[in-house]
Every structure is written in structure tokens, then in C-alpha cells.
């Protein structure tokens, strides 16, 4: 940047050379102009709906009804009142969401890391394997959902057939707990691990080779190299992956909707499914938005804790 740009600048007299001179002239608002398209989209599709959503959550809101009574914080109060209509469903949904997040995030953080470490080595057909690992992520949830409904079918599914070869009786993958969670977590890991693996791979390739060489010279074995070189080198990547994975898991909807339909009972009915029913089926947008704000606050808190925990470790080093 610097060397060529500076020479170019000194060579050209701004007063004489018009095209170059024009390029350099800019007003205070020029950077804002560049940001404008982004800001416009952000404002239209994120900020305005978000603020509008707060307004909606203070009403008994049905966008088709002329009468949308203002009820203050009642929607929020209801979510903390055990005998209200929304309380049991919402917290059941939050519980299901928490279970799924806690169960899936460790796998989605660790398995892709292992895969990335393997794929980072040099071996034949490496690119093919990389592509294969990433491939499922390209599929839409509808495709994955149908696929796993076939695979998980208790009587006709491939998975139970395979288990049957070892004399294992059919498992009710979508009808019984904890197997429904096992199935949902398993399919999610298969479906999305490619994304995290690719991010890890990019991170691994950013770690300078000479650090490994230096460690090796100091007598570090492969495990010590992993602990002392690889992990520190991946710290930022880890923060990113843990945060995005937690958020993605907490927003789980399609898997439970398509494969277990919230069952057995309502054990896999996630918070987003509850909101969908409340806002888009029963048209109670007010309480549905209140729910979504509560979920958003919970996720914000979890994300902040995430950052703090991971930063603390960095300071301790």
C-alpha cells in the first residue's frame, strides 16, 4: 500500500492532473455514502423491525384486526406468570432449546476441529474429502429432514436395519426420548459440521509453519504442539465458532419441525416453534414478539459470557 501509493502521490500535482485529483477530493460524508447501501438494508430489515417489534410486543397485536389494544408489559408479565396461557409453552420451548444447544454445541465445536486437523495434512484425495465433508451443509433443511425421516424410520429405516444386524431391537428414533434428541443432534452435526470444519481449516492454515518447527526443535511432541501452538493460534477462530454455533443451535427449528414435529409429547418443541405457533398460526404477534425478545436477551447474555470466558483464558496465559 504505502510505497507505491506515496510515490504516486508525490509524482502527481493535484492542481494539474484532474482525474487523479478528483479521486482524492472527498467530502466528510463520502465514507457514509459508501456505507449507505449497507445501512439502508440494515435499517430496513433489522433496525426498524426490531424497534417496531418492541412496539408490537406492548400490544395485543393481530395485524389483520383494526383493534390492537395497548397492554403495556402484560405480554412480558405473562411469560413470568406460571398460570398464564403462554408461560408453560414458552418455558418448555426454552428448555428444549437449551437441551439441544447444550447437547449439540460440544460436538459441533470438537468434531469439526478433529476433522480439520486431519484434512489439514497432505494426503491423496484431500480435496475430494474436503468437498465431501462440506457437501451436506449445502443441502436445505427440507432435504435433510426428508432424508432423515427415511433413515430414522423405526420399522423401515436404514439405521434400525443396520442395528438389527447386530441384534439390536428397533429404536424409536423420533418417538421416544432420549433418542429423539440423539437423532436431532446427530443429524444436525452431520448436516452442519462442514461449515465449522472449513473455518477451522482456514484458521489452521493461518498458523505460521515456523512456530511448529520452533516447537519441534524445543522438543515438543505432537500433543504438546497442538496444545501450545495450534490451540492458541485458533483462539479467535474458536470464539467465532463457539458463538455462532451457540446462536445457530439456539435458533433450531427445521429439524424438530420436520423430523419429530415437536414430539414425543412436546419435548422437542423449541422456542422458535412455540413462537411460530403463537405468532404465525394463532396470530398473537404481541406475545410472540415478547417471547422472541426474551430469547434474544438470553442469547445476548450467553454470547457475552462466551466472550468473557474465552478472553479470561487469554489473559491468564
Amino acid at each position: 500500500m504505502s510505497a507505491t501509493a506515496t510515490t504516486a502521490r508525490t509524482k502527481v500535482d493535484p492542481a494539474v492532473d484532474r482525474p487523479a485529483g478528483r479521486l482524492r477530493v472527498h467530502a466528510w460524508f463520502t465514507p457514509y455514502l459508501f456505507l449507505l447501501p449497507y445501512l439502508a438494508l440494515l435499517t430496513t430489515f433489522v433496525l426498524v423491525p426490531a424497534v417496531f417489534g418492541i412496539w408490537v410486543s406492548l400490544h395485543d397485536w393481530d395485524f389483520m384486526l383494526p383493534n390492537k389494544p395497548f397492554i403495556g408489559l402484560q405480554n412480558y408479565v405473562d411469560l413470568f406468570t406460571p398460570d398464564s396461557v403462554t408461560f408453560p409453552e414458552f418455558w418448555n420451548g426454552m428448555k428444549a432449546t437449551a437441551i439441544f444447544t447444550v447437547a449439540s454445541v460440544p460436538f459441533l465445536v470438537l468434531i469439526p476441529l478433529g476433522i480439520a486437523l486431519m484434512l489439514n495434512r497432505v494426503f491423496p484425495a484431500r480435496s475430494l474429502l474436503r468437498a465431501m465433508i462440506f457437501a451436506p451443509f449445502v443441502l436445505g433443511i427440507a432435504v435433510v429432514g426428508v432424508l432423515f425421516r427415511y433413515l430414522l424410520d423405526s420399522q423401515f429405516g436404514l439405521i434400525n436395519w443396520f442395528l438389527g444386524l447386530f441384534g439390536i431391537p428397533p429404536v424409536g428414533w423420533t418417538q421416544t426420548q432420549p433418542w429423539a434428541w440423539v437423532a436431532l443432534v446427530g443429524m444436525t452435526v452431520w448436516w452442519t459440521l462442514g461449515f465449522n470444519a472449513v473455518i477451522y481449516l482456514a484458521g489452521l492454515q493461518g498458523i505460521p509453519r515456523d512456530q511448529y518447527e520452533a516447537a519441534a526443535i524445543d522438543g515438543a511432541g505432537s500433543f504438546a504442539r497442538f496444545i501450545n501452538v495450534t490451540l492458541p493460534g485458533l483462539r479467535n477462530i474458536l470464539v467465532f465458532i463457539i458463538t455462532t454455533t451457540v446462536l445457530a443451535s439456539a435458533n433450531m427449528f427445521g429439524q424438530a419441525y420436520l423430523v419429530t414435529n415437536g414430539g414425543p409429547g412436546d419435548s422437542t418443541r423449541t422456542a422458535i416453534m412455540v413462537m411460530t405457533q403463537e405468532g404465525l398460526r394463532a396470530f398473537k404477534m404481541g406475545s410472540a414478539t415478547a417471547m422472541s425478545y426474551l430469547l434474544a436477551i438470553c442469547l445476548a447474555v450467553v454470547s457475552v459470557i462466551n466472550f468473557m470466558v474465552l478472553r479470561e483464558r487469554e489473559g491468564g496465559k
Binding site: V85, A142, V143, P264, D266, F283
Partner: protein
């Protein structure tokens, strides 16, 4: 969810369901956005019900204005879709100046998209709805009264089964013109019946007869009738609630009836199939359909929209019959497709007339619709000798005298998720039947009371 057992979105078929859900996921987001934006549009503050009387005699005098194209939305994404398209092609070929184009959107998504479209002034001219969704959409001013159509076309209660005709009413106004009635039916697999030594031409008519054949199946190692905790909440269990003398929702719309003894009896009967070995444990949601079509089960109680998919399986030998009287009262769950007119922000007189011409025409031509397994609502169509050639649908039609709908109350379907959860937990033995129902009842009644407050 309740809607998954609806025609057009058969939970019983793997692929149609999956594919339609795909579009649903995208649609949810779209609808949510439209909803946020639409809330500011004048649509929400428009003057619904202020419907001018439409020239052209409500569609009875035909349409001779300039060429118009009409959008017709429905949720016929299953085997019934192509048959509706065929009827529309026929209509288009007979009317030079009207072109109807059909868009099929999975029902669950349809009921989200339509209100958004209405509030943005992008509503289709014609829609299709289930009778049990009419009240909700009428109360939410998604659709407009069409008494003028009924009176101009001289349609009266005498033209339809009473319950289907009344199913189009909400608070004394007509919002729907019935196209069909689709009651649950008993499907029987002739190959399996023959194999276990039962008469393949004599389907059971009572619970005892049914059980006798199921015992025969069991003695031959066949699970005769599969049921699943994931899907029994639909027409199967609801039919039995009616048969045991109960109601899903009480007529005043302030409380549910499903938690009383008939509801418990209904679940216990289905649970009994598993306990007695007539159904495998933990069958998948579509286990009844998959086992039936693979000659692994003798019976399923299911909707007439399965007619087309079953006919498509060449090796299958099947028949349909009225649902046996299991609970002691002749009764059966039924739905009804009804034509509706979505509210337009800008009235186009020509389109208004043309869409009424279409509704009238297709209501008279609903003989073709019987090919989808649906019982035509028009009495004249069913009385036509040609109807006797339509096969399975004749069996469904035999039940018209004792079909049951939920009462026409806005938001009535909001209680179905509670019923779904309760049946699922009870069937799986996670909770005692009555305890599961009592809990569902408590929540459902609160929902009904809050709906009553909301819709007034």
C-alpha cells in the same frame, strides 16, 4: 400439528410432505417480513365488510367484460392438486375472457401468506379454505362475506348437506361456498385380508368385527392396523371422540370437550392397538400409510385425499368403506373445502364478477373433483348417475349424515396443539391418559377464553 393431517398435506406421504415443507420454511420468513411491513399499510385499517353489491348478478349471468386473469390460491399440494388444475383448464377453455391461474401453497403456509397478501393489497381473487378455518379468517377480515353470490346463484341449504352449508357461515353471514366434504374413511388392504383368511370384500362395520379381523392378522403375525403417537392426534382419534359421544370443542367455544370420558376412551382404543399387538410400538408418523401400501397392514383410518396416491400404486389392491362404528355412535371426523373471496383493497368490478362466475361454474362441475376422492358438496352432483362410477368416494359419501366439524369459532384450531401433545404423551405412556388430557384441557380452555376476548 393439526394441519399436517389435512388434505393436500398428507402427513402420511413422505415426499409430498417434505417438499412442501421446504417452501414453507422460506415462506415463514417471507410472511414474517410481509407481516411487519404490512402492519403499516392501510389494509389493516380498511373497511372490511363494506362490500358493494356486485353487478353481474353475483356471477349468475356470466361475464362478458374485458379479458381478466384471476389468481386462485389453495393448499392442494397433494394428489388433489392436479385434479383441481384439470378442472381449471376446462374452465379456462370454456371462458375466453377469464383466465384462472392456480397457486398451491401448503395449507399451514397458506394461512400465513393469505392474510399478509390481503393486507398488502396483493390478495388472490379466489381462495379455498377448510370450514374450520373460515371463522378465524372471517373474524380477521381476510375474507369477505359472499351472501350475494349465494343468493344470486340461488344456492340454498337444499343444495348441500346441512352441515357443509352451515359450515360456510360465520356470525350469520356466508363466507364460504362448499366445494366438498371429506370425511375420514376405513381403507382396507385386500391382499392382506386374503392372506390372513378374512373376506377381502367384506370390510368390518363395527368395532367388534374390526377386532376379530385384527386378531386374525395377529395370529398370522401381521400388525393389522398401525398407529403412531406422532400422528394419531388427527382424524383417527378425533373420529373416535365423536363416536364415543364427545366433542372436540364445545359449541359455545369457551371450553374444549376432548378431555372428558369420550376423549380418554378414544385414546385408550388407539393405545390398545399397540398394547394388544395390532400395531408395532413406536411406529413412525406415517407408519399407517407406509405399512398399508407395503401390504404389511390390513387397515388404516385416513382421509379421502389418499385415494389418488393409493391409486398410483399399481400393485396395491385396496378398498374404502365407512369408518366402523367403534364407539357406539355413528360419527366421523370430516373437513370441507369451501370457496372464499379474499378481501381486496381495490375493488375491480370486472374481476369481482368473473371470480363469482368461476365459483359458480366449478361448484356445478365438482363431479370431476370426486376423482380426488372428495365428496362433492353439491347434492345435484352426487345425485347424478355419473357419480355412481366414481369408486371409493361413494363409500365416503355414505357417511354424510353423521359427519362432525368443530364449531365455527374464530381461532378454534389454536387448541389442537394441546390435543396433539396430550395424545402423544398418553400414547407413549409418558403420562396417564386422563392426566395428560386434564393438563391439555386447562391450557386449551385458557386459549379459547383469550381468543374469545380477542375476536369478540
Amino acid at each position: 400439528m393439526s394441519k399436517t393431517t389435512r388434505p393436500g398435506l398428507p402427513a402420511e406421504n413422505l415426499s409430498p410432505r417434505g417438499i412442501s415443507r421446504r417452501s414453507l420454511l422460506g415462506g415463514t420468513a417471507a410472511a414474517a417480513t410481509a407481516l411487519a411491513l404490512g402492519a403499516c399499510s392501510p389494509g389493516s385499517a380498511g373497511t372490511p365488510g363494506a362490500q358493494k353489491s356486485v353487478a353481474g348478478g353475483g356471477g349468475s349471468e356470466g361475464y362478458d367484460g374485458p379479458a381478466v386473469s384471476l389468481a386462485f390460491w389453495n393448499g392442494l399440494t397433494g394428489g388433489d392438486g392436479p385434479i383441481m388444475r384439470k378442472l381449471i383448464d376446462e374452465f379456462n377453455s370454456q371462458h375466453d375472457n377469464i383466465k384462472v391461474s392456480m397457486t398451491a401453497i401448503a395449507w399451514a403456509e397458506y394461512f400465513q401468506k393469505l392474510p399478509a397478501a390481503v393486507s398488502n393489497g396483493k390478495a388472490p381473487e379466489i381462495g379455498l379454505m377448510h370450514a374450520d378455518d373460515l371463522a378465524t379468517n372471517a373474524a380477521r377480515q381476510v375474507i369477505i362475506p359472499m351472501d350475494d353470490v349465494a343468493s344470486a346463484l340461488k344456492l340454498t341449504e337444499n343444495d348441500f348437506p346441512t352441515i357443509a352449508w352451515k359450515g360456510g357461515l360465520y356470525q350469520g353471514k356466508r363466507y364460504g361456498i362448499p366445494l366438498d366434504v371429506h370425511p375420514a374413511g376405513l381403507f382396507y388392504n385386500k391382499n392382506v385380508l386374503e392372506k390372513v383368511g378374512a373376506d377381502p370384500e367384506k370390510p368390518p362395520t363395527t368395532g367388534d368385527e374390526l377386532m376379530a379381523i385384527l386378531d386374525k392378522c395377529k395370529s398370522k403375525g401381521v400388525h393389522g392396523m398401525w398407529t403412531s403417537a406422532l400422528s394419531v392426534n388427527g382424524l383417527e382419534s378425533q373420529t373416535l371422540v365423536y363416536q364415543y359421544g364427545g366433542k372436540m370443542v364445545n359449541d359455545d367455544g369457551m371450553s374444549v370437550g376432548f378431555a372428558e370420558q369420550p376423549g380418554a376412551d378414544a385414546i385408550n382404543w388407539w393405545k390398545g392397538l399397540i398394547d394388544k399387538g395390532h400395531s408395532p410400538k413406536n411406529a413412525a408418523a406415517d407408519g399407517n400409510f407406509v405399512s398399508f401400501t407395503n401390504d404389511k397392514a390390513a387397515f388404516m383410518i385416513n382421509g379421502p385425499w389418499n385415494t389418488t396416491p393409493l391409486n398410483a400404486i399399481k400393485k396395491l389392491k385396496w378398498g374404502a368403506a365407512p369408518v366402523p362404528n367403534i364407539g357406539g355412535t355413528q360419527a366421523v371426523w370430516a373437513g370441507s373445502h369451501q370457496f372464499v373471496l379474499p378481501r381486496q383493497l381495490k375493488t375491480d368490478e370486472n374481476k369481482a364478477v368473473a371470480s363469482r362466475v368461476f365459483v359458480n361454474w366449478i361448484s356445478q362441475q365438482s363431479m370431476g373433483w370426486a376423482d380426488a376422492g372428495m365428496v362433492p358438496a353439491r347434492n345435484s352432483v352426487r345425485e347424478d348417475p355419473e357419480f355412481q362410477t366414481k369408486g371409493a368416494v361413494l363409500e365416503f359419501a355414505k357417511q354424510l349424515d353423521y359427519i362432525h366439524f368443530v364449531p365455527p369459532i374464530a381461532g378454534v384450531n389454536d387448541v389442537l396443539p394441546e390435543w396433539t401433545t396430550a395424545t402423544s404423551e398418553a400414547m407413549l405412556g409418558k403420562k396417564e391418559v386422563q392426566a395428560a388430557l386434564d393438563q391439555a384441557k386447562e391450557r386449551a380452555n385458557k386459549i379459547l377464553v383469550s381468543n374469545n376476548k380477542k375476536y369478540g
